[in-house]
Subunit: 225 residues, 2 copies
Amino acid sequence: MLAENDLQLAKSSYTFWEKLSPEQQAYLAENLYAISYKKGDIIHNGEYSCIGVVLIKTGGLRVFMLSSEGKEITLYRLGPQEFCVLSASCILDNITFDVCVEAEEDTEALLIPSAQYHHLLQQNIYAENFTYALVIDRFSNVMWAMEQLLFMRFDKRLAIFLLDEFSKTGNPRISLTHEHIAKYMGSAREVVSRMLKYFAGEGMIEMSRGGITIIDKDKLRELTI
Amino acid sequence: MLAENDLQLAKSSYTFWEKLSPEQQAYLAENLYAISYKKGDIIHNGEYSCIGVVLIKTGGLRVFMLSSEGKEITLYRLGPQEFCVLSASCILDNITFDVCVEAEEDTEALLIPSAQYHHLLQQNIYAENFTYALVIDRFSNVMWAMEQLLFMRFDKRLAIFLLDEFSKTGNPRISLTHEHIAKYMGSAREVVSRMLKYFAGEGMIEMSRGGITIIDKDKLRELTI
C-alpha cells in the first residue's frame, strides 16, 4: 500500500493530475510504486530494460551514454523532485536512442511502470504533453553536455566539475579517484591526472590517496569564466 | 496570396489540422508564408533570430552547433516534407540551447512565424503536442550525431571498409548493396544505410542504385585516423 505522502507527491509533481478523469486518477494511483535503489545500481541499460517513469524522492540518478567499448559520457544528473523519463524511452515512438541510468546515491523513488504509463499517455493528451515536455528538458541538458564536451577547454570543464562536487557536498574534500572523474567526464584517466597535477601545481587543489581537496576555490573559479 | 497547393501541403503536413477549430484553421492559413532561401543563407543563428517553424518544400537545411571559436558540429540535416522546429526555439520554454540553421541548397519552404505559431500552441494542445514530438525527433537525431562524434566507432569502421574495397579494385565505384556491406561488417542494414546517408551528406560518397561511388577519398580517409 502506497503511503499517503507518496500519493500527494505524485499528485503535485504530475501536473496533469487535474486533467485526468477520476478513473484515470485512480489508475495512476494504483500503478504507482515506491522503489529503492542502492548506490551503484543500474536502473536502465540501453534497450534491455524499460522500467517506466521514475520520480525521485531522495538520492540521485546519473544518465549516461555507453559506447561499445565501455566508454561512458555523463549526459545529466537528476535529483529529488525530478523525473527520469528516458527509463521509459521504449514507449515513446520518436525516441530512437538509448541511454543508461544508474543510482549515484541510495535513492528512493516512485515508479509508474512503462506499460501503465503508456496506457495513460494514450488516453490523455495532457499526460502525453507533460511527458514530451520532460523529454525536451532533457534534450536541453544533453545539448549543454555536448557543448561542454565538444567545445570547452578541458581545464575549464574539470574546474567546473570539481566546483560542482564541492557545492553538492559543501566539503572541499572530493573523494573520487582520477579514474572515477575521468569516467564521469567522458575523458581518459591520464588526461584527468595530468590536469589535476597542473591544478595542484597552481595551488588550487591538493591530491592525496583516493581524493582531491580544493584549497583555492577562487582561483579554480577563475578558470570557469 | 498563398498558392492552393501550398495550403494543401500545410494541411497534410501539420497533422493537427483536423483538431483545430475553424477559426484556428483560418488563422494558420493566414499566417503561412512561402519563403525561399539561397544556398548558404543562414536561416537561424543562435539566439539572434527566431523566425518560426519552417516546412521544407524543396532543397535542404543543415542544423549545426557553433562554438565561440567558430568550430561547427553538424547535428542533422532536413529535407523535403520535414519541419525545422528549432528555428522557433524561442517560443518553447524548455529549450534552453541554441543552434544555427543554414540552407545547404536553394530551398523553398513554408513558414509560420514564431509569434503566430506561439499563439496557436497556446490555444490548441494538439498543436503543442505535435510540436513537442517534432522536437523529440530532433533530439534523437542529435543523440545519433553525438554517438558518432564521441565514440567514433562505426563511421571509422565503415570508412575503412569502403577504402579497402577501393584499393582492392582500384575503382571508386563499389558495387555492393547496403545489405551486403552490413553482412560483411557484421552490422545491420539500417545502421549501414544511415551512415552512408551521412557520408553522402558530407560529400564523401554518392549513392546510386546497387552501389556507392567514393567522390572524396581524402575526406573519407580522415575518418580513419
